[in-house]
Symmetry: C2
Subunit: 236 residues, 2 copies
DNA sequence: TGTACATCAGTGAACGCGCGTTCACTGATGTAC
DNA sequence: TGTACATCAGTGAACGCGCGTTCACTGATGTAC
């Protein structure tokens, strides 16, 4: 749907390259213009006529969707490889730090791609279902860390008398199953709270909420990461 | 600058009303169209010619700025009056809950106004300095609660061995002074972490990150509010 | 192996649209004497 | 109190612009026999 298919072999390869080039240009334009992606501007930069893009994408939203899926995948991969790069798999705090730091680094590097997936919804654009699997990719890494930490007994027992209404409890249990953590509800809930905090921190930094207020940004982010590790109950 | 001034009295009143009407229409359009505010669309809905708007605002950005300032003020007022409505001033947890709940309610009610101030930056728009004071208004309420909690001894002592680098420490102390809390650095830091989490939660909910995942949204938000109160060390 | 035909990428013109902003203007409303 | 003048709100035409999308077309590249 997003990308038209071709049978041939050489042609197919050229076509695939062209698609990548279009997306690369579009990405770069989004970096300077924000989400207001213009097909004409993209085609202009590619030195072709605007209608030629319709050989590759059905319409503007289709190109946007492709960019969004790519962004999710890139972010997910950044998180995954940051996690994988921690040699000592039992260093759960180190993994948490590595993953969250990678999320932030990726986002600071490509603020507009970040905005595309975690910013305000683009008016008139509705994300199709193809975006769902890539979108869950980053959070799977969180799930893995939580599960390993739980299994290794590296999580302090969560306060058992924090009330969790039944409906919410069921949904959180569902998330625990889905992202493969399989951890208990209080742990999963705390993990999600922490995850939300981390993205809140990235949001604030990227969207200017701490401009002229906090300049020691690396330190501030590190502080928040550590605070959330503590909140989850992650022990050294 | 944002709004042209007039000396007269009756005329001035009519003018002020007109300005309010323009902003009201613009707000309503933002609610359906997103940040892509169109002067022509606003003027059309008002039944006047587009150039007439230039009697009231220098240009499009000027109108946007006015909307942004109004939004900050409205959100700030919502937070302030939610806090003030808690009769028992020593019920710090209750005040925290009231304020955060008010922030969320306001945002859910006006998602596009929320996006205007806490969402992705509008491409090509740079917020002028007039927006700074209104923007700090909501966070002042947090400062007041923290200060009162600290003074009443209702905060558990923060872990003293969490490292806070000097530069960051100084900036956080500066924030504590600025928002009138005057609390110690670890407390202020935790307060900001919690504040960031709350806005992260509102962001996630508003921008669709928990769609098809968590339906028990009131409960989930309440859980997060409670979790952050615990994190700050707010005791009943 | 060579030829006829189908597929495909890219062209160029056109459609219909909406936008922000400027400018000279007309009347109505206020102000000063 | 009445008149002359200045201020102001709103008009209507125009500027120059960019946009997404459609459509009939031209060549070049691949495929089937």
């Amino acid at each position: 749907m997003a990308v038209k298919k071709t049978a041939g072999s050489i042609r197919a390869r050229v076509r695939a390259e062209m698609i990548e080039e279009i997306k690369a240009v579009a990405r770069r334009q989004i970096a300077t213009e924000g989400a207001a992606l213009s097909l004409r501007a993209v085609s202009r930069e590619l030195g072709m006529v605007s209608s030629a893009l319709y050989r590759y994408f059905d319409n503007r939203d289709d190109l946007l969707t492709a960019l969004i899926i790519d962004a999710y995948n890139a972010l997910g991969e950044a998180a995954e490889s940051a996690d994988a790069a921690v040699a000592d798999r039992s260093d759960l705090l180190g993994r948490w730090r590595a993953v969250t730091t990678a999320l932030r680094a990726w986002s600071l590097d490509r603020p507009h791609e970040y905005a595309l997936i975690y910013g305000s919804p683009v008016p008139g654009y509705a994300a199709p279902e193809d975006t769902v699997p890539p979108a869950t990719r980053p959070v799977l890494v969180l799930g893995a860390i939580l599960a390993d930490a739980k299994a290794a007994g590296r999580l302090v027992e969560a306060d058992p008398d924090t009330p969790v209404p039944d409906a919410l409890r069921a949904e959180i249990a569902g998330i625990a199953d889905l992202i493969g953590a399989g951890v208990d509800v209080p742990t999963m809930a705390r993990g999600l709270v922490a995850w939300t905090q981390i993205f809140g921190a990235i949001n604030f930094e990227l969207f200017g909420r701490i401009d002229n207020t906090i300049d020691a940004r690396d330190d501030w982010f590190a502080y928040q990461v550590r605070a959330m590790a503590e909140f989850i109950g992650l022990r050294d």
